[in-house]
Structures are given as C-alpha cells and as structure tokens.
C-alpha cells in the first residue's frame, strides 16, 4: 500500500501525544504564529495562503487565501472569523478526530487567519453533540491564553485576539456558513440570501470569514514549510492532503489522510482494506450525502475537486460511503431523504415541501406500493427543487435521487414491478420523533 506523509494526523500518531499545549509546542507548535507576528504583514500571509492553493475542506472547496482577500482592508471593524466545526454532513467524521486529538493547530490556524484579515474575535461553532470536542477546545483555549498565544498583545506584537466556543444544538443546516452566522446571533439557523456575502456583511453584518476546522489546521504548516511545499502535494488545482472519512461496507473504515488526487480504487481497496466479506462493490458516495452516487465504473476517478466534478459528483466534505451488492439503492436514497427532510430548515418552499413529497414517494416505492409514473414524478420534482433554493441544500437533497435513478433505474423498476423491495423484504423502521 502506498504510504504518504501525513500533515494533519501526524502529531496524534506520535507515541504518547495528548494534544496538550506542551505536546504541541514540542512538535514546533505556535512557531508559525510567531513567524507571522514577528515578520509578516497581513498581505504577506494572504499571499502565502493564496500561493499554496489551499481550498476549503468543508465542502465547497473555495480557495482560502482568496476568501481572506475579500475582506475589505479599509473597514473600521470589528471583523470576525468563524471556525466551522459543525461537522454534520453524513459520512464525515474527520473534524471530530482533529478537534479531540490535536486542538492547538486549529487555534494557531485561527490566530494566523485573524491576523491576516484583521479580526480580533473568533468563534468556533461546534455541533452540539460534540460535548467532548467542546471541552477539549475550551481547555486548549484556556492554555493558549495562559501561554500568551491568545489575548492581548500576543507575543508582544500588539495583535489582540479572543476565541470563543459557540455550541450548536442539533441542526445540520448550521454548517451552511450564513446559517451558522444566524445561529451565533441567537436565531434559527436559516441561510441568508447572497449577496451580500459574509466577506462584507457577515456576523453582525460585519466582514466575516468562515473556515472549516481542517482548512485552518493546514495554515500553520503552510506558513512553516512554505506555499511551494504545499502546492507540490496533490493534483493540479487540488493542493495538499485531504482527510477522507471512509465508512460503510469496507474492512477498515476510518480517517485516511492522503494527497488529493489518489483514486477511489486505491482509497477503498488499499487504505480502507477492501470490501467486507469480499462482497462486490455497488455504489460509492464520494463526498458526503449531498454528493451524487458513483458506481464501480468510477473507481479510477481521482479524488480531487476537479476530477470528481468532471465525473458528475463532488468531493464535498471528503466523506466516502461505500455500499456493497446487497444494498438497496432505493432504500439508500430513502434513508438520505429522511435525513434531508428532517434537516430542511423550512425557509424555501421547494426544499421544505419538496423533501416531504420526495420522501413520501420513495417510501411508497420501497414499501412495494410504487407506480411507474412515480419515477417521472421523482425526476420532475427534483428538477423543481434544484437551483431554486437560497442555499445548496436543495441541490443536495435531490442528488441521491437523481444519481440513483441515473445509475440504478432498474432497481427502482424492480421494486415497482415486483411490488416489494427485492433486497429488504422487511420494511425499514419508520422515523419516530
């Protein structure tokens, strides 16, 4: 199996490494912040991150340095940075591992980002279920204040920064950056219409950057080792490594950090140990529940932003869900629609109402009560949701349906013709609240 240098998971694999400030300092921790504060201008930092090619690891893959560059320099402030630790995209569990095992690189990345954009306050928005993660972060923040890496006049530079942990309370949509801002402001997490964008009108209508945990964790390494080093890893415009969360019917599910651009075949059959029980592979979700399904025909697609998009899906949050030959694709789509229906924030009618109708039709088909024109109804409904909502949720909720209809239409037809699920004769448990 190919072995690659790890950047983000490296520390936690050191024997005895606890993620404490002392342990992090022993690996050179906070030297990047020192380098920035003692010898770089905000413009230098932004230029360095731009040159590295670092792109957002939360889902959209937007170039991080460009995002920072959108913050108006002449704005009197305050400006804000929000670290998105709301990790909720089904299949994704990488940020949880980073937060619990190595919180200080996140804080150091936040501090460098805040210096670059001129922010003196940062919020880490962490999903409510991560009680452990929130405790680890609060401890790390307290330690960083004591050591002088946070607070007033950091390292004698005159730069001030406060970081606060803000806990969510169970709402997938708060991972959407403007919903996240609404949630910090004490409101329902409903995405805002854009423009204006957070770069000019973000938290409290002030210039704001929202960056994912994994994105920010990369920043100290880019400062320390240089943008050229980072840009040399990966494939084309997808630079650096990525932590892929692999789940489903593989022998070794887990988080694997590899250079962007290896193939799905290598990920599933080498790193994740291949298929459980040597069953045949049927489907792959390449980038979280919002991404279109792939088939075994896509095994040689490279895991970078451009290649996955060119093949008709998206790299998204880096969550790879693997399904074997015994998995019913109608059930899989239905399961995800239950998720999307439950998590729709209700703001946009196509998404709110559409998810209910889509789910109802899928349940009917899965239960053996489907009709042939249901497939047309699924498609036509989906096309009336896609692109018609304020945020990307609408596109996300139809991706599992449209892609399973495209690749596995015969399975839908079999459910309808046989009047039962050929894979799971027993109806799936209904959701109860």
């Amino acid at each position: 199996m190919p072995v690659y240098e790890k950047i983000l998971l490296k520390n936690m694999e050191l024997s005895g490494y606890t993620g404490s400030l002392t342990d992090y300092a022993n690996t050179g921790g906070y030297s990047a912040l020192e380098k920035v504060l003692k010898g770089m201008s905000p413009a230098d930092v932004i230029e360095t991150v731009k040159k590295s090619g670092l792109r957002g690891r939360g889902g959209a893959g937007f170039p991080t340095g460009v995002k920072w560059g959108f913050i108006p320099k002449d704005h009197p402030g305050p400006k804000y940075l929000c670290c998105n630790a709301d990790e909720s995209e089904p299949g994704t569990f990488k940020d949880r591992q980073l937060i619990e095992n190595d919180p200080h690189p996140i804080l150091e990345g936040i501090a460098i980002a805040c210096f670059a954009i001129g922010a003196q306050t940062a919020y880490i928005y962490i999903r409510g279920e991560f009680f452990t993660g929130a405790k680890v972060l609060n401890q790390a923040i307290a330690d960083a204040y004591r050591a002088g890496f946070l607070g007033k006049d950091i390292l004698g530079s005159g730069f001030n920064l406060d970081i606060y942990v803000h806990r969510g309370a169970g709402a997938y949509i708060c991972g959407e950056e403007t919903a996240l801002l609404e949630s910090i402001e004490g409101k329902r997490g409903k995405p805002r219409s854009k423009p204006p964008f957070p770069a000019t009108h973000g938290l409290y209508q002030k210039p704001t950057v929202v960056n994912n945990v994994e994105t920010l964790s990369n920043v100290p390494h880019i400062i320390n080792r240089g943008p050229e080093w980072f840009a040399a890893i990966g494939n084309g415009k997808s630079t650096g490594t990525r932590i892929f969360s692999v789940s489903g019917h593989v022998n070794n599910p887990g988080n694997y950090e590899v250079p962007l651009g290896i193939t799905f075949r290598e990920m599933i059959f080498e790193h994740a140990g291949g298929m459980q029980g040597d069953k045949k592979l049927k489907a792959i979700i390449p980038g979280g529940a919002s991404a279109s399904f792939f088939t075994p025909d896509h095994l040689d697609v490279r895991m970078d932003f451009e290649s996955v998009a060119a093949a008709g899906s998206m790299l998204g949050s880096g969550a790879v869900t693997v399904m074997n030959e015994d998995t019913c694709m109608v059930w899989a789509a239905m399961n995800l629609l239950e998720f999307f229906h439950h998590e729709s924030c209700g703001k946009c009618t196509p998404c709110r109402e559409g998810s209910a109708w889509l789910l109802q039709i899928l349940k009917r088909i899965e239960a053996g009560d489907g009709r042939l024109d249901d497939l047309k109804a699924l498609e036509s409904l989906s096309h009336k949701i896609e692109g018609m909502t304020v945020c990307a949720f609408g596109d996300a909720e139809v991706a599992p349906i449209l892609s399973t209809l495209k690749h596995f239409r015969a399975e839908y037809e079999a459910h309808i013709e046989e009047r039962r699920c050929p894979f799971r004769p027993n109806a799936v448990l209904a959701m109860a609240h």
């Binding site: 949880r96 803000h166 910090i184 329902r188 599910p253 887990g254 239950e338 439950h342």
Partner: protein
C-alpha cells in the same frame, strides 16, 4: 431581576456569557444549554426567564428552542439515548439495533421508560460514521455497538450511572 424558575446560579452562568458577544441575543443558544443542563428540559417559565435576561421576547426564545433538535421541550429520562439512523450506520445494522433497544427497554422511539431512567430518540448523523452502529447517551458516544454491548451499557448506567464502554478520545482507525 426576579426569575420565575431559574436558580441564582443559572442566572449567573448565563450572565457570564454576555462578555463573549456584542449583543445579548447571541447568548440565546448558550443560555438554553445552561438551562437544560440545570433542569433537564426547557419549560415555558424557564424560557420566559431567558427572554427577560436577554431582553428579547418569549416568542423569540421559543422560536429558537423549537428549531434545534437537541433542546428538550419536555422532560426526558435520566439517560437520554439517541441512536443514529443515517445511511452509514444504517448500512451496518442501525435498524436492527434500534429494534433491539426498543424491545429491551419496552418503549418506542420518542418514549421514556416507566422508571424514568431511559428515553429513546432516533437521530440523524452524529459524525461517527466509520464506527457504527452508534448511539449517544447524554454527553457520551458509544460506538461499534452490538446487542451484547448495549446490554452491558444499559446495565452499567442503571447500576453505576456511567459505563466504561463510552468512547474516549476518538481515533479511527487506531494507529500506533
């Protein structure tokens, strides 16, 4: 300010959050967490107290409390079991596990056992997709579950109030 139901300590804890934000309304989510920690759920008098403390209306509090799934609007058992039912867990046996827990506790999802010890709720993805099936009970995650493990966890909680099977620091796969 006279509180209807919140204790002085809870009020103090909420007020300690004000320093973190430029306005009081932003303390709403933290405040509801603090109340839920003290009282187990968000009663209407408690929400009205929060509204007073934050200078917002009770409806603004209720609006938010009903949006976020983790806020309990009615009392729950001492141990609040939340089982993930989303795809990755579903692929590795979440449905069978849910059926087992329901049978073993003799309750359906959404209910609480008659002794008030256990409530069961089905939830969407908890970011433990490689280690399913899984559940969260109060603040702890329990992963790689089997029926036997569930038996032990429920027994532990009943007898000791905690279980050593709770996930510690999360790493997957375990290396080194």
């Amino acid at each position: 300010m006279k509180m209807r139901t919140l204790s002085d300590q809870t009020k103090t804890n909420i007020e300690a959050e004000f320093v973190k934000y430029p306005d009081k309304r932003s303390v709403l989510l933290p405040a509801l967490w603090i109340v839920q920690e003290e009282m187990g759920y968000l009663s209407e008098p408690a929400m009205m107290d929060v509204a007073d403390l934050l200078d917002i209306t009770p409806v603004q509090v209720y609006d938010v409390a009903t949006f976020y799934y983790m806020y309990n609007l009615k009392p729950v058992g001492k141990f609040h079991i939340q089982v993930c039912k989303t795809l990755s867990c579903g692929l590795v046996g979440a449905n069978a596990l849910i059926a087992y827990i329901q049978k073993r506790l003799e309750i359906h999802a959404g209910e609480t056992t008659s002794d008030g010890l256990f409530s069961l709720k089905l939830v969407e993805c908890l970011a433990a997709c490689g280690s399913g099936p899984m559940m969260q009970i109060n603040e702890d995650y329990y992963e790689h579950l089997t029926n036997q493990k569930v038996d032990q966890i429920l027994d532990d909680l009943k007898r000791l109030g905690r279980s050593p099977l709770a996930t510690g620091r999360f790493r997957l796969p375990m290396v080194g």
